[in-house]
Amino acid sequence: MVEERRMPSDGFVLAVLVLLAVFFVLTPFTARSLQGNNALLGEQSHFHLGLAQNMLEPSSYHLQDVTPTLFNSLVAGILIIANPMLTSKLLPIILGVASVILFFLTAQRVLGDMEERSLAGLLFIISPLFIVVFTTLTPASLVLFLSLLCWWLYDRSPVLSGVTLSLLVGVHATAFIVTAVLLVAYGLLRGSWKHAAVSGAIGLFLMVLLDAFFGFVAGDALIMSSSFNDFFVSLGANFGYSFFLLFLAAVGVIAAWSKERRQIVASLIIGGVFVFSFSDMLARVLLVPLVAMLAGKGVLVLLRRPWTVRSIRNITLFLVGLSLLFTLVFTISGQVKAEPTMEKLEALRFLHTSPPDAVVLSSPDNGVLIERLGRRQAFLDNAQQDQERWSAAQQVFLSYRMGTTVPLLQEYGITYVFVDERMRDGGVWTYEEQGLLFLLKYDDRFVKLYDAGSNVVYRFTG
C-alpha cells in the first residue's frame, strides 16, 4: 500500500517561516551585540534615523536640505512614543515579518503546490536582499512591504490595492512605477488585467492628488545609486541578488514557460523590469518576491526531475543547497561587519571628547556616523549638496602641498581629520603615503590624537 505523504498545514509552514525570518534578521544584531557593538547596521540606518529625528526636532545643519519621505515620517511617528534604538531595530523586523506573511498569503493564490510555496517562502527569507533590507533602517523595507500588500489586496480589493499603490509614491516614485508595472504583469498572468487597470488608475489619481496638495512624491533622495556590480552580492553588492537564486529562478521560468500570448506579454514586462533592475536598487528589491517564487519552482523541478544519473543528482542538489547556504552566511557575516564596526565606534566615541565646535574631515561615507555617533559636525557626508565642499575635500585629500591644504582647512574651519581603513583601501587613497596621508605623517601641524589600528584621528593645529 502506498503511504501518502502528510503535508504540514499552511499555518504551521507560515509559523516556521516567520520564526526563521526573525532568526535570520536577528542574527546580525545578536552577533554584533556579543562583540559589544549595539549600533545600527550601516550608514543608511543612521541617516534615516537622523532624518526622522530632525523632523521632530531640527538639529543637524545639512539634513535641512534633504526631503524626508513617508518612511521617515513613519519612523518619526513611532519615535514620538518609542525609544530611537528600539524603533530603529524593531521597525524593519516588524515590516519583515509582515512581508513574509503577505508573501506566503500571495503565494497561496499563485502557487498551488504546498511544497512549492514553502520552498519559495524559504528562498524569500534567505535571499540576501531580504536580510539586508530588513536588518537596515531603509525605505526599501517599507517599499517591499507595501508592494506585497498591493499584491495581496489585488485579488481582494483593487480599490484598496490602488490606495496602497499610491502610498508607495510617498517613499519613492520608482517604487510606485515598478509596482504598478508588475501589477499589470500579474493581472495578465491571472487573467484579470482589469483589476490591474483599476488599481493603477486609483493609484495614479491618488498620487497626483497627494502630490498636488502635500508635495507627496519622493524622488531622488535616499535611494543609493547603483551600477552593474551592485547587482550580485558575489560581486560585492550590498543590495544585490545571489547568483544561485537567479539561476534557480531561470530554471523556474523555463519550467513554467508556455506559449500563451498573455504569458509572453507578462514575461516581456517582467523582463523589462528585470533589465531596469540592473541599474536600480528599488526595482531589485521589488522583484525579490517574484524571483523567490520562480526559484522555488526551479528547486522543485530539480528535485522532482527523473535524473538518469543518481550521483550527478545528489552532487548537484548538494551544491544547490551549499551555494544557497554559502550566500546566506556571506550575507549575514557582511551585515555583522557592517559599518560602524566596533573599532570605528570607539574612534567615534573618542571624537566625542573633542571640542563641541570641532569640524571633522573624513570620507563622505563616514559623515553621518561622525554626526550621529561622534556628535561632531562632519565636513562632508553623502547628503551634502554644496559642490564647493566636495571639490575642496577632493583637493585636500589628494594634495601633497601644505600650501594648498592649509588655506582650505582654515577656510572651512576643519580642525580634525578622521581616517579609516576603507579610506586607505581605495575609498580615498590607493597608496600608503598618498596626498593628505603623506602630510598627516610628516607635517607636525597634524597631531595624531587617537590611533587604534586602522582608525586614526588627527588634530589640525593650524
Partner: protein, 509 residues
C-alpha cells in the same frame, strides 16, 4: 576483422601514440632548454613550490609581489608540482613536467578521434595533428603554468563526455576529470560554455537533448560557479565584473590583442587544420547531424566567443581553437576518404590523405622547429639580479616592467612594484600607467615622486623595459644627484639604479 588482427592493430596504434608522445615531448623539452632559465613568469611557480616545501602552504600572502599582496588562485596544480618537486630537480617542474602534460594530449585526442572517424589510422593522424598545432608550441613550454595540463584534461573531459553519452560507461571518470579540471584552472569555463552552446545547437537543429546532457550541464554550471565563487570570492568583491578580465590593465589587454594579425592567428592555429576543421564541422552539422560533431562545434564556438570578448588569454585561445579544429579535421579526413572510395579514384584515397598530411607537416614543422623562447630572461638579467640578491638591503623595492616582476622576486628575492598577476590589486591601471610614465620621464621630480609613491628604491633598466616603454635609457637616470648606477651587467644591456634622494612635501605636484 579477426580478434587477433584487431588486437595487433590496437597494439600498433598504441605504439605509434607513445612514439608521438615521446617525439612531441622531446621537441618541447629541447625548445625549453634553449635557455638555462625559466620564462619570466616561470619563477612564480618555483617560489610557490619553495613555499609549500617550507611552510606547507602556497603563497596566498606574497610579501615580494607588488611590495606585498594577497593572491587568489586554485592551489591544486601548485600542490601537484610541489609533490613532483620532492623527487625532481626544481627546473624540471618548469621545463619538463608541463611539456610532458602537453605532449600527453595525443592520448585523449586519439581516443576522441577514434569515436569521430571510427578508424585507427585516421585517429592516429588526428592525434598527431593535435599535438603539433603551432599555437600549442607557444604556451607552457617554459613557464611552469598549469595551462598544458588543463588543456590535456579538457580534451580528456570532452572525450569522456562523448564516450559516456554513447556507451553510458565512463561516467565516474567523466565526473572525476571534470572536477579535476574545475579545481585546476578556469579553463573549465570553456567546457561549460561549449556544453551550453551544444545544447542550444541541438535545440536549433531540432535534435533530441538527452536528459544526461542536461544533468551534466546543470552539474558543471553549479560546480564551476560554486567553486569560482569560493576561490575568487575576494576578487569578485573587489573587482566586480572586471574579475572576468582578471583585472588586466586595458593597455596591456589591447597591446596583446593588437600584436596579432589575422594571418598570424591563422598560421598559429594551423592553416590545414583550419580548412579541414571548418569543413568537417560544416559537413557534420549539415549532413550527418552527429552529436559528437555538434558538441565539437559548440566547443569551437565557445572558444571563438571567449577570444572575441578577450575573456581568455590569446595564446591559450588560439591553441584551443587549433586543437579543436585539428580534432574536427579527423572527421573531414574520414569524409574525404569515404567520398574518394566511392569514386573511380578509390585507390587514390589514402594518397590524398598522405598529401594533406604532408602539406600539414611542411607548413607546421618549420615554425615548430624554429620556435624561440621570447619571454626568457637573459644572462645579463640573471647577473644583475643575483648581484641584487647578494648586495641590496632586504627592504629594497625594485621597479621594472610588469613582465619582470616575478623575475625580480624569484632571483633577487626583493619586492617588485608590479608583476603580471593583477588580481586583487587596487587601481591597477594607475600603477601600470605610472610605470610607463616613470620610464618616459625626463625630469627627476616626476620620477622620484612616482618611485616614492610606491616606495621603490631601485630602477631596473633592461631590454624588456625598453620593449615595454619604447625607452632604451630613461633620461632622468642621468641626474647623479638622485640616481646612482649600482650595477651594470657585463654585456652592458641591463642596469640597476638606486634612488638616492627624496622629495619633501612642498616639492610634490
Amino acid at each position: 576483422m579477426a580478434p587477433e588482427q584487431a588486437t595487433a592493430r590496437q597494439q600498433t596504434a598504441t605504439r605509434i601514440i607513445i612514439a608521438l608522445f615521446i617525439i612531441i615531448a622531446a621537441t618541447r623539452i629541447i625548445i625549453a632548454y634553449q635557455s638555462p632559465h625559466p620564462d619570466y613568469d616561470g619563477y612564480l611557480p618555483l617560489r610557490q613550490v619553495e613555499s609549500i616545501h617550507q611552510t606547507g602552504l602556497p603563497l596566498f600572502e606574497d610579501e615580494l609581489s607588488y611590495g606585498g599582496r594577497a593572491r587568489v588562485f586554485s592551489p591544486l596544480y601548485t600542490y601537484l608540482i610541489a609533490l613532483f618537486g620532492l623527487v625532481l630537480p626544481k627546473l624540471w617542474l618548469v621545463k619538463v613536467l608541463p611539456n610532458l602534460f602537453a605532449a600527453a594530449i595525443v592520448i585523449p585526442a586519439y581516443a576522441f578521434a577514434r569515436i569521430l572517424t571510427k578508424h585507427e589510422g585516421l585517429a592516429i593522424i588526428t592525434a598527431g595533428m593535435t599535438g603539433l598545432i603551432p599555437a600549442l608550441f607557444l604556451i607552457g613550454i617554459n613557464d611552469g603554468s598549469p595551462i598544458t595540463l588543463s588543456i590535456t584534461l579538457l580534451v580528456t573531459t570532452m572525450y569522456l563526455f562523448i564516450k559516456s553519452r554513447k556507451s553510458g560507461k565512463h561516467l565516474d571518470w567523466l565526473l572525476i576529470a571534470l572536477v579535476a579540471l574545475i579545481l585546476l584552472h578556469p579553463l573549465s569555463l570553456v567546457f561549460l560554455i561549449g556544453l551550453l552552446l551544444y545544447t542550444a545547437l541541438l535545440r536549433v537543429q531540432s535534435m533530441k537533448i538527452s536528459p544526461k546532457d542536461v544533468e551534466l550541464l546543470l552539474f558543471t554550471l553549479f560546480f564551476t560557479a560554486w567553486f569560482s565563487l569560493v576561490v575568487f570570492k575576494k576578487a569578485f568583491v573587489m573587482h566586480g565584473s572586471n574579475v572576468i578580465w582578471q583585472n588586466i590593465p586595458a593597455m596591456e589587454l589591447s597591446a596583446v590583442f593588437s600584436k596579432v594579425t589575422l594571418l598570424s592567428a591563422i598560421s598559429s592555429t594551423g592553416f590545414i587544420a583550419l580548412i579541414l576543421g571548418v569543413g568537417g564541422l560544416y559537413y557534420g552539422l549539415t549532413e550527418t547531424k552527429r552529436k559528437s560533431i555538434v558538441f565539437l562545434t559548440g566547443m569551437v564556438a565557445g572558444v571563438v566567443i571567449l577570444i572575441w570578448f578577450r575573456l581568455i588569454a590569446l595564446r591559450t585561445g588560439l591553441a584551443l581553437l587549433g586543437i579543436l579544429l585539428a580534432l574536427a579535421s579527423g572527421y573531414a579526413l574520414h569524409r574525404i576518404v569515404d567520398y574518394l572510395r566511392k569514386t573511380k579514384a578509390a585507390r587514390l584515397a589514402w594518397a590524398a590523405v598522405a598529401g594533406i598530411i604532408a602539406i600539414f607537416v611542411i607548413a607546421t614543422l618549420p615554425s615548430m622547429l624554429t620556435t624561440e623562447l621570447t619571454d626568457t630572461p637573459t644572462a645579463a638579467d640573471i647577473e644583475v639580479l643575483t648581484w641584487a640578491d647578494e648586495h641590496l638591503s632586504e627592504d629594497a623595492i625594485i621597479m621594472g616592467a610588469p613582465i619582470e616582476g616575478n623575475l625580480i622576486a624569484g632571483v633577487a628575492h626583493r619586492k617588485n612594484v608590479m608583476d603580471t598577476d593583477y588580481l586583487l590589486i587596487p587601481r591597477v591601471e594607475e600603477r601600470y600607467e605610472d610605470t610607463i610614465t616613470l620610464y618616459k620621464s625626463f625630469f627627476k621630480i616626476d620620477a622620484v615622486s612616482i618611485l616614492q609613491k610606491y616606495g621603490a628604491t631601485h630602477v631596473y633598466v633592461s631590454p624588456q623595459t625598453e620593449a615595454f616603454t619604447d625607452v632604451a635609457h630613461p633620461r632622468f637616470l642621468d641626474d647623479e644627484q638622485c640616481f646612482s648606477l649600482v650595477k651594470t651587467a657585463t654585456d652592458g644591456t641591463v642596469q640597476l639604479y638606486g634612488l638616492t634622494c627624496s622629495l619633501r612635501g612642498e616639492e610634490y605636484g
